[in-house]
Amino acid sequence: MSNEATIHQHDVHTHDDHSHDDHSHHEHAHHEHKQHFLTKYVFSQDHKIISRQFLITGIFWAIIGGLMSVFFRLQLGFPEETFKVLSTFLGDWAPNGKMDPEMYYGLITIHGTVLVFFVLTAGLSGTFSNFLIPLQIGARDMASPFLNMLSYWFFAVAGIIMFVSLFTSTGPASGGWTTYPPLSALKEASMGSGIGMDLWLASMSLFVISSLLGGLNYIVTILNMRTKGMSMTRMPLTIWAFLFTAVLGVLSFPVLLSACVLLIFDRHMGTSFYLSEIYIAGKALPNVGGSPILYQHLFWFLGHPEVYIIMLPAMGMASEILSTHSRKPIFGYMAMVLSLIGITVLAFLVWAHHMFVTGMSPFLGGIFVLLTLLIAIPSAVKVFNWLTTIFRGNIRFTVPMLFALGFVSLFISGGLTGLFLGNSALDIHLHDTYFVVAHFHIVMGISAFFGMFAGVYHWFPKMYGRFMNNTLGYIHFFITFAGSYVIFWPMHYEGLAGMPRRYYDFTNWESFKQFADLNQMISIAAIIVFFAQLLFVFNYFVSIWKGKKVTTQNPWNANSLEWTTPILPGHGNWDGPIPEVHRWAYDYRDNGEGGDFIPQNVPLRDGEESH
């Protein structure tokens, strides 16, 4: 679908009929078009509004998920103490301030689910794919603004269902975010496997739909709606990253849906996809012949690509931000694209490395070791390219730049521990210990968050026409960066000592009780870091109305197309025609007039060759 068609079909006000026609209808552009509050801010089809909806919903869920981690860290750090705040929030689940184990497991489950899916998938790629794809490729909106709107609302409903599940009498799903059957399939097995689990499955199914609607839209938009001159190899790396994120999601999320559907069958219709030879609650179940391992295969077929669905947008944005604020082109653009392709392909071939200890065929395990460690190569290429990008640059330590640098540091730290876990012979001891917790929190939790923060600070001026407060941003960065390492670095050691994850209490274990002081310290650090994130939330919302106003069109002196739009672009993005692109997105060099950058829409000078 062409840009003009999109806009017209949905009766959005556009200001030019022929995007690449120099003749624009300016008198038309200033025509005031009153939109109802509902269609403008709630059921909006403007990709920029939808992206803000994704972001703010993501922030909401991040606070909920973060608060949950504060609660269970209280339990882990202070297993002997009682806390009134727990009874205040959890009610009967924490009588006299002591958390019930069922609720502990509910909290870790929902914390994981919410942060992985609602915050780091919807909140990250939902926000920035929506915001940046049309703006950076030069499109008026998404290919289908209507589906785009639906994508958000499916996500919102999924969120509401998940939220409701917190208030059921048997509590939310509590089998861990992976919800392995039979634990999650049998009501008898745990309280969380009651109605809470049904709501979890319903919520995830809707989330899959949301993600598919969004993903298909992103792919179609990127492939079909680039402005004139925006060849694939001139696209900013952000767009490449969003493209592969969407491809990963579209190909793997349906598999999660099938896993959910089969689990619903097993729970309610007496099928035996995942159940076999079970004796529980005093009786033998009739189910024979199923395999719980099947669920794990289906789950991780999404579950592993999911990690890259989270990581790729962060990588793309970090690339863009490192380059812009170093005033240097990204190093090895094609290598970056190829490594994204490599990661995308390999992401589908490594899922079983989460299952080395399930008793699967050792030969198969060997193949997955090989494929898993292959991912280290494109990842290493990316790290070295980022380092070379800042090498001999002219670095401006803006808040987004600091977060992008922090992203690289965390990605290195968390990525390297993947070499331990991906190697089955080492995984067999580290599996399901705090080593894993440390690894994935650093590499896809915190570092993806750093990519997201970098993105928010960087594109906030485009979203709201104001800056976020710098000083608060710096405080936010330093506390979060230091805090993340303080929280997660020692966990590697705990895991190496065999300390299992998802334990409510370690005091009765001769092998793990020596970490009590350390757990306490980690909990305190986690609480401080949580409050530092509220500082960000505070900064975000206050800055929407009170932040320093953006006075120039291109405050970061960046090359990509979003900075050629008005300071606060309306629906349709450009008042005049969509700019034509003449060069790649990373021409950070002398423009011959004293400037150190040449935006993509600047025509080539005489005798200049395009990159």
Binding site: P362, V369, I377, T388, S409, L416, H429, F478, E510
Partner: protein
């Protein structure tokens, strides 16, 4: 009340921070944005060095603090080779970590914005890119080779003559079964299970079950120097046999039998002496989320000498006999048993 105060306190801190932040922007405006920015950029560039130094010192102290708390040396032959492989991987990743983190922070500091230096337009270098594609590829090949060698060795069939013990998980404890004098574990099926007199659902038509010994608290008694194969099962949901000290782990999956084997090389008593901790005990932890009591699903592993093991074994009554005293009175203790054990020991 105290909760409300806490909320107010946090809100107050935020407001104060925000005012400080606003005023710093005022200062910027008064000083001139450009001069202020320049100054701030310098400070932040320097802070990169400070952060790096703090990072490295932190890692050092963390290591110093943690090492005395770590698990003692591996108590199985497999675990020993595990620790060796872990060390190699540590060196490889540690070297990359040190190099890349150093470059990241050093470049950040070194190439801070300055008015008199133009950034170097450096977009591409095939040579460099080949170098840092090849080097990780070689490093990975080495790690994969070492890993797979060790992986296939440990997942290979258990050696002949290995002791077999079955360990079965249920919510929320472990049950272990020893084959008894005939050395063979009899058949069992889940429909035979009942919590009163047939915990594991042994099939009483199978004669091989008659001498099997069941320990309902899941205690594992292993013999130093003798390979042991664990036959792992589950009655209800997925559990996981986690043997930290032996660097071993395997899921217990309902409907599927899984196995691991290893050779314990240090007895519990020897380990108590080595660690200087008289309470030291090998523990079996459930490492797969299994419900409310997951964190308390513990069993004790005892590594002893063959002689000690035989004495223990002799005292055990078969599960069948325990539950059917009227049918099968406790077998008279065979006087020849001690002779047998010495034979076994000498044969070894």
């Amino acid at each position: 009340m105290s909760g409300l105060l806490l909320v107010l306190l946090v809100a107050l801190i935020f407001v104060v921070l925000y005012q400080v932040a606003r005023s710093s922007e005022m200062v910027a405006r008064i000083q001139g944005e450009e001069i202020f920015d320049k100054k701030r950029n310098k400070i932040l560039a320097f802070s990169m060095l400070v952060v790096y130094a703090a990072f490295m010192v932190g890692i050092y102290y963390c290591h110093q603090y943690m090492m005395p708390l770590m698990a003692p040396e591996a108590a199985s032959d497999h675990g020993q080779s595990y620790d060796f492989m872990f060390e190699i991987t540590c060196y490889v990743t540690g070297a990359i970590f040190m190099l890349t983190q150093f470059l990241l922070f050093w470049f950040s500091y070194k190439y801070q914005r300055s008015g008199d230096r133009a950034p170097y337009y450096f977009a591409h270098s095939t040579k460099l890119e080949l170098v840092w594609t090849t080097i990780p590829a070689i490093a990975m090949a080495v790690l994969v080779a070492i890993g797979l060698k060790s992986w296939f060795a440990m997942t290979d069939m258990a050696p002949k003559g290995a002791m077999q013990i079955e360990i079965v998980g249920k919510q929320f404890n472990w049950i272990s079964r020893y084959p008894g004098p005939d050395g063979v574990l009899g058949k069992r099926y889940f429909t035979n299970i009942n919590d009163k007199d047939n915990l594991l659902g042994l099939d009483w038509k199978d004669q091989k079950n008659m001498d099997d010994i069941i320990v309902p608290n899941g205690e594992l008694r292993l013999v130093k120097g003798k390979p042991v194969e664990l036959i792992i099962g589950s009655r209800d949901v997925i559990h996981d046999v986690g043997l930290t000290h032996f660097r071993m782990k395997m899921d217990a999956v309902p409907g599927i039998t899984t196995r691991i084997w290893f050779t314990p090389i240090i007895t519990t008593r020897e380990m108590q002496e080595k660690t200087g901790n008289p309470n030291f005990v090998y523990e079996l932890s459930c490492d797969q989320m299994c419900g409310k009591g997951h964190y308390s699903m513990r069993a004790v592993v005892i590594v002893e000498t063959q002689a000690e093991h035989d004495i223990w074994l002799k005292k055990q009554q078969s599960y069948y006999a325990q539950n059917h005293p009227e049918v099968n009175p406790p077998a008279a203790e065979s006087t020849s048993a001690p002779v047998d054990t010495t034979k076994k020991i000498t044969m070894k």
